[in-house]
C-alpha cells in the first residue's frame, strides 16, 4: 500500500519520500555492485564447494542420525566447511569493506539526520582544551550577534552546552570564541523533504575520526576550541508500518537486491 503510494508520488512528482527513494536506489546499486565485485574477486568454485560441503554435512546429520560416529564427523565437517567458507568470503570482504564504509558514512550524512526544526530549541556542545577557557567562551550567530541562551559549564570534561532556539530556516553558522579566536560551525535549520548533507561535529583530530564523524574542515590545532557539536534529530524512514533508521532499510533492500542479482548473474555467494 505504502509502496504504491510512494510510486504514485514519484510518478506525479508530489510528496515524494526522497529519503526512502534514495535508500532504495542506493540499495539496488550497492546490491548489484557488491555482487559483481564479489563474483570477480572470490574463488567461485571453492565457495560453491564449501557451500556444498556444508549442505552435505547437514544432510548427513539427518540421514545417518543413528550412527553417532557419522553424526559427529558431520558436525566437524560443518564447522570446517563453514570456516573455509568464511575464509573464502574474506578476500572480497576486504576489497569492498573500505569503499562501502566510506559510502555508508557519506550516505549517513544525508539520510541519518534531519535539519534542526525551525522554532524549536537545540543543543550546541563545545569542548575546549583548558577548563579555564570556559569562563570566557562566547557563542555568536552568523552575523556576529551574541546569542543569549541557557548554558551549562562542565569543567570536568572541559565542555559547555548551550540550548538555543532555531529561528530562521536555511544554512547558518555558529561562531564560538575563546581568547579572541573564533571557530565557526555550520548548521542547517528548516523543513523540507529532500535530504541535506549534515555535519554533526567540527573537530580537531585525526583524519579517520573526521572521516567518520565530521563533514567539515578541521579546527586549527592551536585553537582553544577542540570541537563544536550540534545535536540534530535522527531521521526515521517509514515503510510497511515500521519507522526505522535508513541503514536498516538499506540492509534489507541491498540484501534482497543482492539475492536477486546473484541468482540472475549466477554468482556464488
Amino acid at each position: 500500500m505504502q509502496t504504491t503510494t510512494t510510486l504514485t508520488a514519484v510518478i506525479s512528482g508530489t510528496s515524494v519520500d526522497w529519503p526512502l527513494m534514495i535508500t532504495l536506489a542506493a540499495s539496488v546499486a550497492v546490491g548489484l555492485g557488491m555482487v559483481v565485485v564479489f563474483g570477480f574477486t572470490s574463488n567461485q568454485k571453492a565457495i560453491k564447494r564449501s557451500k556444498d560441503q556444508i549442505q552435505a554435512n547437514l544432510l548427513a546429520v539427518r540421514l545417518f542420525q543413528d550412527q553417532l560416529g557419522a553424526v559427529l564427523r558431520s558436525y566437524v565437517g560443518i564447522i570446517t566447511s563453514l570456516g573455509c567458507y568464511l575464509r573464502l568470503s574474506f578476500t572480497p570482504l576486504l576489497i569492498v569493506i573500505l569503499p562501502l564504509t566510506v559510502f555508508i558514512i557519506q550516505m549517513d550524512r544525508f539520510l541519518g539526520w534531519t535539519p534542526l526544526p525551525a522554532g524549536q530549541s537545540f543543543l550546541v556542545k563545545a569542548r575546549v582544551a583548558n577548563a579555564d577557557a570556559l569562563n570566557e567562551i562566547t557563542l555568536r550567530g552568523s552575523s556576529g550577534e551574541e546569542i543569549s541562551a541557557d548554558v551549562v559549564h562542565m569543567p570536568g570534561s572541559n565542555e559547555v552546552i548551550w540550548r538555543i532556539p532555531a529561528l530562521d530556516s536555511g544554512s547558518q553558522t555558529l561562531k564560538v570564541s575563546v581568547g579572541g579566536r573564533t571557530v565557526a560551525k555550520s548548521i542547517v535549520i528548516g523543513e523540507g523533504s529532500y535530504p541535506r548533507r549534515l555535519s554533526l561535529i567540527r573537530l580537531q583530530g585525526s583524519v579517520w575520526k573526521r572521516l567518520l564523524d565530521s563533514g567539515e574542515s578541521p579546527i586549527e590545532v592551536d585553537a582553544a576550541v577542540q570541537s563544536i557539536q550540534v545535536i540534530y534529530p535522527t531521521r526515521k524512514i517509514s515503510l510497511f508500518g515500521f519507522r526505522m533508521n535508513w541503514i536498516v532499510w538499506f540492509f534489507v533492500f541491498s540484501m534482497i537486491a543482492g539475492y536477486i542479482f546473484k541468482s540472475l548473474l549466477g554468482i556464488q555467494i
Binding site: 550497492v30 546490491g31 555492485g33 557488491m34 555482487v35 565485485v37 564479489f38 572470490s42 557451500k51 556444498d52 560441503q53 556444508i54 549442505q55 552435505a56 547437514l58 544432510l59 548427513a60 546429520v61 539427518r62 540421514l63 545417518f64 542420525q65 543413528d66 550412527q67 560416529g69 557419522a70 564427523r73 558436525y75 560443518i78 563453514l82 567458507y85 568464511l86 568470503s89 572480497p92 570482504l93 576486504l94 569492498v96 569493506i97 573500505l98 562501502l100 564504509t101 555508508i104 558514512i105 549517513d108 541519518g112 579517520w208 567518520l212 564523524d213 541503514i247 538499506f250 540492509f251 541491498s254 540484501m255 537486491a257 543482492g258 539475492y259 546473484k262 548473474l265 549466477g266 555467494i269
Partner: protein, 714 residues
C-alpha cells in the same frame, strides 16, 4: 635502487596490512560500518543460518536422544541378538566372469581376490534363467524366481499392441490437466509405477532395526521406503525418459543412428557454432499430441585459436574442453514456460574440431542435486552424495555403449567415461562403508558388465569385429578391468575389520558374441510367423507381420511368445493342448539347432516357462526361454522385432561379449572372506543367507536357501 625497494613485501607483511585494515574496520565506532554489503552479508548470514540449523537439529537430537537410544537398543538387541556378524558388505560386479577371474588369479594378476579365494570362498554362482541383469539382480534382492518378482527381461511385451515396454518401471504423467491458453498444465505429480514385485531383503533387515546402505543395485527404481539409504541403479531413465539417448552435434551431415542416439545439426554463426541438446517433451502440452514440443538447451562452441580445444557456453556457464576430452558434469535446465523446468546434467566431449566440428553430449542424466524424479531413498540421499562428492551419473545404463557401437566414441573415450563413473561409485561406496559401521552395505558396479560387453572382441582370436587384427595388437582392456576390480576389493578389505563379512558377487558371467541369431527370421522360414502379402522381411517391432497367420514371435533377448487366442489381441493359437503341443514342437526343433556356417551349436537349451518359473506373475512370462550356445546371441534385429532374410549373421559391432544365453554357460562369481559350505551356490540364495546371518528367519516363500557359513576368521 634503495635497500628497501629491493626487499620484496613478505607474506607476513601482507598479512599484517590486512590485519591492520580489518582491525580499523572492526573497531571503528559507528554502527553502520558493521555491514559490508550483500556479498559478505550473505556469507555471514548464511553461516549463522547454518549454525542455527545445526544447533536446532542438535537440540532436537539431544531431546529425542534418550528415546531413540532406548528404542534402538531394544530393536538392535532384538535384531542383533541372533546375528552372526555386525556388518556385511556385498560388492556386486555386474557380469564378473568366474572363468576369467580364475585365470587371472592363477596368473597372479588378482592378488586380493586370490587372497579371498585362499582364506575364504571362491565359487561359481548359479544365475537366473535368463541370465540378464535386471532378472538376476531382482532375484538377488528378493530371494525368489522371476515368477514371483515379475522381471523376465529388460523389455516386456504388450500383448495388445505387440510393442515393448520397460519391464521394471513405468513413468506416467499426471492424469488430470487444466488448459490455460496454449498450455496444458498437469495437476498432480508424475506417477512412477514399480513393476518389480517381491520385497528386497534389506527391507526385512530395516524392520528389524538393521540399517542398510544400498548403492546402485539394479531394478531399484523407483526407490522404495525402508530403514536405510538407497541410490537407484539400472533402469533409472534419463531426462528424456529413455534408457539413455546421447546426441552428436555436428557441422557434418550423416545418417540417423540405429538406436540410442540422435544427430543434431551445428551451424556456424560468426566466430561461434550453435547447436542444442534435445531434452524431454514439454510437460505443458497434452502428452498424446504428437506435435508436443521437444524442450532444448542451446549452446555455443568457440574453437580456440590453435584449434586444440573449444570454449563451450551453455546458459550462464562457460567452460573449455580440449580436443578428445570430456568436460565435467554440466548442469542444464530445460525450460517449458510458466516457471516449469527440468534439471539435468551432461558431459560434453569434443570429438573433432577440424575440418568439421563435432561435439558428443552424453545422455542428459537426472540431476542428483535437483532430482526431478526420485532416484534415491530418502530423496535427499542423492542430493547429499552430489553435494559431498560432486555431480555423478544417475542414468541406469550410464556407460554409453550405443555411442561406441555407432562409432561416435572410440575405445579410449568410452573407457574414460566408464572409469569416470566407476570412480564416482567408488567414492560413494567408501562413504557408505564409513557411514555403515553396523548393518548392510551393498554397492553394485556396472563397469565390469559394460567393458566386457564392448571389449570382448579383443579376447577372442577370431571375433568378426576384430577380424584380421593380430592378437598381439589387441589391448588388454578386460585384464585391466579385472585388475581394477581386484585393487578395489583390496582397498575395501583394508577398510573393514576382520569381523565384517565381505562378499563379492556377480549376477552372471560372460561369453563371446560372434554370431547373431534372428529367431523371428527362423520362425518365419519355418512357418510359425507370417508376413503380409508380398513381404519377405519386416521392419522393427513386427511392422509387416501378419498376426492372423502368426503362431509364434520373439521380442527381447531370450523370450519366445506364442500368439495365443484371448491373450494376444490377434492371437490364433488356442490355449491349452494346442499351445502346449506347439511349445513341445518348438522345443524339439530349436534345441540343439546348429549354426552350420560357424560350426557352432546355436541353441543349447529351450525351457518351457511353466517348468522354469513358479509364482503369481508367470502369466507375464514368455512361453519359452531360449538358451543360446557359446558365441551366439539373439541378433540385434531379432531383439527389436525385425524379420530378416538371413537367420544367422556375424556380429561386427563393438558390443562383442554377452551373457543373454544358456544360463549354464554364464554363471556369476561368489567370493567371500568366510568359508561357505555349499557345493552349488545360486544368486537366489543370497537374500536368505543375508537374513540368516543377521539372525532373521527367511520367509517360507523364498526359493533360495541360506548357505552355511563358517564365521571364524582365518
Amino acid at each position: 635502487m634503495s635497500r628497501i625497494a629491493q626487499v620484496p613485501i613478505s607474506r607476513n607483511a601482507q598479512r599484517l596490512v590486512l590485519l591492520v585494515l580489518l582491525t580499523l574496520v572492526i573497531f571503528m565506532p559507528a554502527y553502520a560500518h558493521a555491514y559490508a554489503g550483500p556479498g559478505a552479508g550473505f556469507a555471514v548470514l548464511s553461516s549463522f543460518w547454518t549454525l542455527f540449523v545445526a544447533f536446532l537439529y542438535s537440540a532436537y537430537a539431544l531431546v529425542t536422544w534418550p528415546f531413540r537410544t532406548l528404542l534402538r537398543m531394544f530393536r538392535r538387541r532384538k535384531a542383533f541378538a541372533k546375528a552372526l556378524v555386525r556388518r556385511a558388505v556385498i560388492l556386486g560386479f555386474d557380469g564378473m566372469d568366474p572363468v576369467l577371474a580364475a585365470r587371472y588369479m592363477d596368473e597372479g594378476k588378482l592378488p586380493n581376490l586370490a587372497k579371498l579365494r585362499a582364506s575364504g570362498t571362491f565359487s561359481k554362482l548359479r544365475t537366473t534363467n535368463p541370465p540378464i541383469s535386471p532378472v538376476a539382480w531382482s532375484t538377488f534382492m528378493t530371494g525368489v524366481n522371476p515368477g514371483k518378482h515379475n522381471i523376465y527381461d529388460f523389455l516386456a511385451c504388450d500383448r495388445r499392441s505387440y510393442l515393448p515396454f520397460l519391464s521394471s518401471a513405468e513413468v506416467k504423467g499426471p492424469k488430470r490437466r487444466i488448459k490455460v491458453g496454449k498450455y496444458s498444465i498437469p495437476l498432480g505429480k508424475t506417477e512412477i509405477k514399480r513393476m518389480r514385485r517381491g520385497t528386497p531383503f534389506w527391507h526385512r533387515l530395516g524392520k528389524a532395526g538393521i540399517f542398510s546402505s544400498i548403492i546402485r543395485v539394479p531394478v531399484t527404481f523407483p526407490p522404495e521406503k525402508f530403514s536405510g539409504v538407497l541410490l537407484s541403479g539400472m533402469c533409472v531413465p534419463d531426462l528424456k525418459g529413455s534408457q539413455g539417448t546421447f546426441c552428436l552435434c555436428s557441422t557434418a551431415t550423416g545418417g540417423a543412428f540405429r538406436e540410442g542416439g540422435t544427430r543434431v545439426p551445428m551451424k556456424r554463426k560468426g566466430a561461434s557454432l550453435q547447436s542444442y541438446i534435445p531434452g524431454p517433451v514439454t510437460p505443458l502440452a497434452e502428452p498424446s499430441k504428437s506435435s508436443a514440443e521437444e524442450l532444448r538447451v542451446r549452446f555455443e562452441v568457440y574453437p580456440t585459436a590453435g584449434l586444440e580445444g573449444a570454449k563451450i557456453v551453455v546458459g550462464k556457464k562457460s567452460f573449455v574442453v580440449k580436443l578428445g576430452e570430456y568436460s565435467e558434469w554440466i548442469p542444464v535446465e530445460f525450460k517449458a514456460g510458466l516457471g516449469v523446468r527440468a534439471h539435468g546434467i551432461c558431459r560434453f566431449y569434443l570429438k573433432q574440431i577440424n575440418p568439421e566440428v563435432e561435439v558428443y553430449v552424453t545422455p542428459v542424466n537426472i540431476d542428483p542435486a535437483k532430482p526431478d524424479l526420485p532416484i534415491s531413498h530418502p530423496i535427499t540421499y542423492s542430493v547429499y552424495l552430489a553435494k559431498m562428492f560432486g555431480a555423478f551419473a544417475t542414468l541406469g545404463l550410464a556407460e554409453d555403449t550405443w555411442a561406441l557401437n555407432e562409432d561416435v566414441l572410440d575405445d579410449d573415450a568410452f573407457l574414460v567415461q566408464c572409469y569416470g563413473n566407476h570412480e564416482a561409485r567408488e567414492r560413494q561406496l567408501f562413504d557408505a562403508l564409513e557411514k555403515t559401521p553396523e548393518g548392510l552395505c551393498t554397492c553394485v558396479f556396472d563397469t565390469t558388465d559394460r567393458v566386457q560387453h564392448m571389449f570382448w572382441r579383443y579376447l577372442e582370436e577370431d571375433h568378426p569385429a576384430t577380424r584380421g587384427m593380430a592378437q598381439s595388437e589387441k589391448p588388454l582392456v578386460i585384464e585391466d578391468l579385472y585388475r581394477r576390480v581386484d585393487e578395489l576389493v583390496g582397498r575395501v578389505m583394508q577398510k573393514v575389520d576382520s569381523k565384517t563379512l565381505v562378499m563379492v558377487v556377480s549376477d552372471h558371467g560372460f561369453q563371446n558374441f560372434a554370431r547373431g541369431f534372428n529367431l523371428n527370421a527362423w520362425l518365419h522360414q519355418n512357418g510359425y510367423l507370417a508376413l503380409r502379402q508380398g513381404k519377405t522381411e519386416s521392419g522393427d517391432w513386427f511392422e509387416d507381420v501378419d498376426w492372423s497367420r502368426t503362431r509364434a514371435y520373439t521380442m527381447g533377448l531370450n523370450g519366445l511368445f506364442l500368439n495365443v487366442q484371448g491373450r494376444e489381441s490377434q492371437g490364433i493359437v488356442a490355449p491349452g493342448a494346442v499351445a502346449e503341443a506347439l511349445k513341445a514342437e518348438l522345443i524339439a526343433k530349436l534345441s540343439g539347432l546348429e549354426d552350420l556356417a560357424a560350426g557352432r551349436t546355436a541353441i543349447t537349451g529351450v525351457w518351457d516357462s511353466d517348468d522354469a518359473y513358479a509364482g503369481p506373475y508367470t502369466g507375464n512370462a514368455p512361453d519359452l526361454i531360449i538358451g543360446y550356445g557359446d558365441g551366439v546371441r539373439a541378433s540385434w534385429d531379432s531383439v527389436m522385432g525385425k524379420v530378416t532374410s538371413a537367420i544367422f549373421e556375424d556380429n561386427t559391432k563393438a558390443w562383442s561379449g554377452d551373457h543373454c544365453v544358456d544360463p549354464r554357460l554364464v554363471p556369476g562369481v561368489l567370493f567371500c572372506n568366510r568359508k561357505i559350505a555349499e557345493d552349488k551356490p545360486a544368486i537366489v540364495d543370497v537374500a536368505p543367507t543375508m537374513l540368516r546371518i543377521f539372525g532373521l528367519e527367511p520367509p517360507a516363500y523364498y526359493d533360495g536357501k541360506a548357505w552355511t557359513i563358517k564365521y571364524e576368521v582365518n
